[in-house]
């Protein structure tokens, strides 16, 4: 069953949903990256919750004019309008009052959502009842989706992706370095609005598949995941798109393969699994790599400090330093330096003197900037330069024992 789902053999609708979800996942991953890099990830939470009143009002409006209240396109237009109003409120609050953005986000999302709930109960009490199926927008529901709905989603996902491709240059510039972008003549404010517009588009298209509570996951998690693997901006964007697309495709397929596997939550959980792997195992920014690096670094600091203390005849208090020195065979168990320890200590101290000269000398400014207390001087200066520095210190000094 899962195999059939993965190879798109579960019928026309399921295939359309899977394609739509994948397009949506790619769009969400990319759009979310811009949002994440602007440090406004949770704005999407406000935007998505703010869609609810719009959905309900659109339903009421369409129904009261005698149309079909469930027309997906109409509902989505309504959701777009109300999330735009929510976004406007959010921006107004942060700009004109002393509230920070996080408070404005919380206020908008809870109030709009609360009002949406009121409208939902109104719809219920008007006798249109549960058959309106608007609850489906909370958590998404692809089961029993109409062919026309699936088309709307697939088309919406594709359209959003095209918009992203058109706008990628200015958005990348603004997301990574707004000041530089402004200097280059990119309209920063307008681009920010375009990013928000795309967030709204992704949210609206995703409403039916993942639901308004979980759509924010599609915008945030792939971007965060991608960030672990690369420092280069274009790559973050591409990887986030890939992570989003893969998660959405796998999620849609898994969900179609068996009953009781709701699409939205499955997509989110697959997305999280990708995140978790990246958090732990990514080279460079991953946790495992960082732990190993930090331990190595801490040992180097302690060893170096211990050697300098030995060279200058200062007592060593830190137990870890002593243990490391002992393990390296640089001091004996009673804390006295071994011959090797004395030699290494003298070298460390001499390097310190060399660094002192280098850092006090304007001609070596570039090398001096690399000083961090640990770097071996041989890695920044040539043999000749070191000899020159040494001549300023004087010949190797004997170490009194």
């Amino acid at each position: 069953m899962l195999f059939e789902a993965l190879t798109l053999q579960l019928g026309y609708n399921a295939t359309l949903v899977a394609i739509g979800a994948t397009l949506l996942g790619v769009s969400a991953g990319i759009t979310g990256t811009f949002l994440f890099l602007r440090k406004r990830a949770l704005v999407s939470d406000a935007v998505s919750h703010a869609t609810l009143p719009g959905v309900c009002l659109a339903f009421l409006l369409m129904a009261s004019f005698g149309g079909d209240g469930r027309n997906l396109l109409g509902l989505l237009i309504g959701s777009a309008v109300s999330s735009a109003i929510g976004l406007w409120c959010l921006n107004w609050l942060t700009r004109n009052t002393r509230l920070a953005e996080d408070a404005a986000i919380g206020a908008v999302l809870s109030v709009f959502f609360g009002f949406g709930i009121v409208l939902l109960t109104v719809i219920q009490t008007l006798g249109m009842g549960r058959q309106a199926g608007l609850e489906g927008f909370l958590l998404g529901s692809t089961a029993g989706m109409l062919w026309s709905d699936a088309m709307v989603i697939a088309a919406g996902g594709g359209l959003t992706l095209i918009l992203i491709l058109l706008l990628r240059r200015p958005m990348t510039l603004v997301a990574f370095d707004p000041e530089y972008a402004a200097a280059r003549g990119v309209p920063v404010h307008l681009t920010d609005m375009a990013i928000m517009g795309l967030v709204m588009a992704v949210t609206v298209v995703g409403l039916k598949i993942v639901g308004l509570i979980l759509i924010v996951a599609l915008l945030i998690i792939p971007a965060v995941t991608a960030r672990f693997w690369t420092e280069r901006s274009e790559h973050v964007v591409l990887l986030a798109g890939l992570a989003g697309g893969v998660a959405a495709y796998l999620g849609a397929a898994i969900s179609a393969s068996a009953p009781n596997l709701p699409t939205g939550p499955i997509i989110v959980l697959v997305s999280f699994a990708l995140f978790l792997v990246s958090l732990l195992l990514a080279p460079g920014r991953g946790v495992l790599a960082a732990v190993l690096r930090h331990r190595r670094f801490q040992r180097r600091v302690h060893l170096r400090q211990g050697l300098l203390a030995l060279a200058q005849g200062q007592p060593i208090y830190e137990k870890l330093t002593l243990r490391l020195l002992r393990r390296a065979g640089l001091v004996r168990a009673d804390g006295v330096a071994t011959d090797q320890g004395k030699a290494r200590a003298a070298k460390a101290l001499r390097d310190e003197r060399r660094w002192e000269i280098v850092r006090g000398d304007q001609t070596h400014e570039a090398a001096a900037a690399l000083y961090d207390g640990l770097r071996d001087i041989e890695t920044v200066l040539t043999r000749d330069q070191i000899a020159e520095v040494d001549s300023m210190i004087g010949g190797p000094q004997g170490v009194a024992v």
Partner: protein, 268 residues
Amino acid sequence: MTLELATTAGRIAEPASHENSPLCVRGLTVTYGQKPAVFSVDMTIEPGKMTAVIGPNGAGKSTTLKAALGIIKPVSGQIQVFGKPIDEQRGRIAYVPQRASVDWDFPTRVIDVVMMGLYRELGLLGRLRNRHKARALDCLSRVGMRDFADRQIGQLSGGQQQRVFLARALAQDADLYLLDEPFAGVDAATEKAIISVLKALREAGKTVVVVHHDLATVTEYFDNVFLINTRKVAEGPVETAFTADTLQAAYGGRLATAQVEQLSRAVG
């Protein structure tokens, strides 16, 4: 510098207590990520003196202070305050953070900020009495801010905010005062007011340590200097430790030769 290796086991022992020093730091290393901000620094502050901590931007001045106070966690290092671990001596230290480190839009008045300095005295639930309020007002008078007691803190100028922070430190009635860049971006009147308060503290036998960035005023304001650039460069009385050589060593190429000459003339 004599090069002498420790040859007796007795040298590697518990640190001798520096009971005379209000603040004694040994082997302090602090890193941000992989880059050491402060590397293996020793510092011994002399009691009853005003000491300036000096060094180029990013040299680890504030970091040293924050690590000494236990605000940030060092990779290694020992810190003693009046010969004891800092946690036993919290009541004897007053700290004035950088002005930019807090949100001045916080809903509170000037007098409330000063009374925060009484926290250790009042504890969690101690009643705030009239004498406490009187003391806070007195501290505000000493920095020339008595008339601003009921203002919301966001309505003050930068210099006024700095003076409020100083008043809070005064309310602590400590023996050791640590100030992080108190003169950064303040007006001349504030600088004058602050320095006269600090000098009065010294007259009263207190110890004052200031992270300072204005080399031109060092000789005028301070008794001792501590020069740092990731590592300690020099430490001691202004006359011996604040010289063209030590400045060159601390600032390297970053200080123009003319500047150094001018400063060393000021040093005398």
